[in-house]
Symmetry: C2
Subunit: 488 residues, 2 copies
């Protein structure tokens, strides 16, 4: 990226520009520049392995990918490198203890599996033959997530080179799973099994992005999600709507009424108890969100949508980042073929999901939904409801010292730019780490919206990738002081 | 049927039991008994022709069925017999003018096509090899509708034999279509094309049934139907509910809200103007309906349903016979496969149908639905609505002289039983005849619910079939006097 961040002048979180810091910034950059070419060769080699976890015939490639990473981490200097088997694809665990026994422990999370990709989907180049054009490397997995995992290898080497250390200033652990693109079905079990090995003071997730090339940001949270399937059973078979219509309950009508009852007139979720415990946005957080250069029409274009609609009293970004929601993911019942069919359908079906924010508990939400649903189903209709495994929300308080350290390190990598804060509306396995390990989760990602995750022509901006390397090189040195005094 | 109708003693509409009437009842019955065997042989011959209009490879059989009927009508004595071509299957038209030029004209409607049937669907005998067991003839089309068409041939012969006439006392016309089981797609065009030939003072539809073997009834109306498909378009493709959920309108949610807005808390249709013009049930009609031996648990078993639900203030029979309804026939949108998928769907779809009663106009209903829908769709959602061809409702006033004549003739056939009145909740092409010809439609059917229309092992009760014959034998003689003074 050759552009200067647009808000560099207004930097608030940037570090004092004293001489020692300037020297360190220069030294890190020099080291990174010197090793950039070899690093990118390594990344390209890894990207050539089509580690598509969603395709059973790629299972061997996913394993090769894990082995490649394990070898690279060993070469980097990690003292313990292990391939952890799961009931599905293997994960890679690595550890590099600090020489200071009192150093804090950091666990970095990423994944080495990728989404499917085929040339015919619209790729201009072979998705598994990395191609560099205009400072961007195009390949499946370049941004999501191999590029963002691998920058940690060069980052820790830069940290050591610049500080003259032989071991990192933090106890550094890496956990790189192989099933994230398949919904991480065995991740929770993996973290529970190895909870002692994974124990950390802070978790750094490198599987997200920044606001834009010119607005560097740190993500501070993700929403959780609870989802359910509801089946509604009426007549024993589809029956004639002329003979019986208007006199027996229609499960498709009931499905519609359930959907309509999800929200009130202010588009707030109308399920009793749904908002219990919700961590509300502070005025300071709302002000920070409002500062972001949000362009609603550009956002709508990304959403492929033609209007906004959401909870009254909140902005679009607040709605997707910080407010819980109820969404209809699917609905079906009766005749859906061409033309009409005059029936009262035998059954109808709903798939609902609820995005959750900090303070909401998936088990309490499930109880609330079940009670609410039971009150909506009339006599003569039988219902069933099944919940999937929930994902909890996670949120880093804005005043957490580790967050300040990440923002400070990032600001140095971004030439003193002010680092702003975002959240993710989506949900991810990171919350399992917060939950199982009891450690705060921070997000250090340098991908940008144009990188095209899950889409054809996925790419990573190489200059931004190097800023990720620089950020970690600074961060490992800063964290011990930042975390001093915080409890494990 | 050997059972005596349970309410014979309380007969109201039965004819005065004077000697002449007794003689005529006896004479008709003797004639019918004498010709019963030959008549049933003819019916069996017709039923052997698998005139399934819904199966393209049966088109030749449907034509053979029309030709068989035409030949039989000629043999019966009809002076004009024509096969009328349509864009689909052929209809049969026949005419037998009265020798009294002032006689009223009656048009009998029926159909010669049948539903599909195959032994493996659960038939105990070959569906196209009529089998008589215990006074019932089992075959596809036995009740729906060949048996009920054919009784008119023996009926008019009995009428002539008993009265000594050489031509009927009414100008008798028959229109027997060949596409009723396929939704009568060309019937309206056919009736419009031949409106002059079909002109009549009264239309008798023989394609319905009675309450039960022991409760003879005449149907006085059918509901109409208007149906529509509604498409709701939101995002240009399914989008991630984590990234965008809660901030853009969801078409599946909108579909649910539309469904929920169809009815108010009293289960009345909540579309403004929907009830405008509805012909309300009179107290007398409600009393007649309440007299019927209705067994709600038996009705629920037939409906395969587990509870009743409908417009407040009306009984189940009133709801399905005499009240207009709004029904969801199908709903779909988003992900309907196994498991969950966290999307905001790109689109959702509804199939709605509205049963209409006398006084409601399908065009006005369409206008009302369109206006109501437009008010429910939020900004950001595009909607389309397409209506199918409507079927109008039809209703014979209880005091219509032709209805009294039908009930009187039927009472004589049923040994003086009180004839009660029913309606049909469904809709049929009969309404087109009422509409195009401007003539009242009456329903003369002797099928019973156990006959299994459209189901395996369809049958007709042969004793009831003969009562249909007897009814028409009496009716043609009674109608001229009954209709004297009514306008054409």
């Amino acid at each position: 990226m050759s552009e200067t961040p647009d808000n560099a002048v207004h930097s608030v979180d940037s570090v004092p520009a004293d001489e020692a810091v300037r020297d360190s910034v220069r030294a890190v950059r020099a080291y990174v520049d010197q090793h950039r070419s070899a690093f990118l060769d390594g990344l390209a080699e890894w990207l050539r392995i089509p580690s598509v976890s969603g395709q059973p015939d790629r299972a061997g490639d996913v394993r090769r990918s894990a082995e490649w990473l394990a070898a690279t981490l060993t070469e980097t200097g990690f003292t313990t490198v292990e391939i952890w088997e799961t009931a599905g694809a293997p994960a890679v665990f690595a550890e590099w203890p600090s020489d200071d026994p009192d150093a804090p422990t950091v666990l970095v999370y990423g994944h080495h599996d990728v989404q499917p990709a085929a040339r015919e989907d619209g790729w201009h180049t072979d998705p598994f033959e990395p191609t560099v054009v205009d400072g961007r490397m195009y390949a499946r997995g370049a941004a999501d997530d191999k590029g963002q995992v691998l920058f940690h290898t060069l980052g820790v080497r830069a940290h050591l080179a610049v500080t003259g250390r032989t071991a990192p200033a933090v106890h550094l652990k890496l956990l790189v799973e192989g099933e994230e693109e398949s919904g991480s079905p065995h991740f929770r079990a993996l973290t529970e099994e190895h909870a002692n090995r994974l124990a950390a003071d802070v978790v750094i997730v490198s599987d997200t992005g920044m606001w834009s090339e010119t607005t560097p940001t740190v993500c501070t949270g993700m929403r959780g999600v609870a989802d359910c399937e509801i089946d509604l059973f009426g007549p024993g078979q589809d029956i004639h709507s002329g003979s019986f219509g208007g006199a027996v309950p229609n499960p498709a009508t009931v499905a519609g009424r359930i959907v309509a009852a999800l929200h009130d007139a202010d588009e707030r979720v109308a399920i009793p108890g749904f908002y219990d415990g919700v961590t509300e946005l502070s005025d300071a957080e709302r002000a920070l969100i409002a500062e972001l250069p949000f362009d609603e029409s550009a956002w709508l274009a990304t959403a492929r949508s033609h209007g906004t609609l959401g909870e009254a009293g909140y902005s679009t970004l607040e709605r997707v980042w910080a407010r819980p929601t109820a969404e209809v993911n699917g609905i079906g019942g009766g005749y859906q073929g061409p033309g009409g069919k005059t029936i009262v359908p035998a059954s109808a079906h709903l798939k609902l999901s609820f995005r959750l924010v900090a303070g909401q508990d998936p088990e309490r939400i499930e109880t609330a939904v079940r009670a609410w649903l039971a009150g909506l189903v009339p006599a003569g209709i039988r219902h069933e409801i099944v919940f999937g495994a929930p994902t909890r929300p996670c949120l880093t308080p804005l005043d957490h010292p580790a967050l300040k350290a990440v923002a400070g390190a990032m600001s140095r990598a971004f030439d003193g730019a002010k680092i702003r804060y975002t959240r993710e509306g989506g949900s991810g396995p990171a919350a399992d780490l917060q939950d199982v390990l009891g450690a705060p989760v921070l997000f250090l990602g340098i991908s940008v919206p144009s990188d095209g995750w899950h889409a054809p022509n996925e790419k990573i901006e190489l200059d931004l990738l190097m800023k990720g390397v620089e950020t970690t090189a600074h961060l490992w040195g800063d964290l011990p002081a930042a975390l001093r005094g915080t409890e494990r």
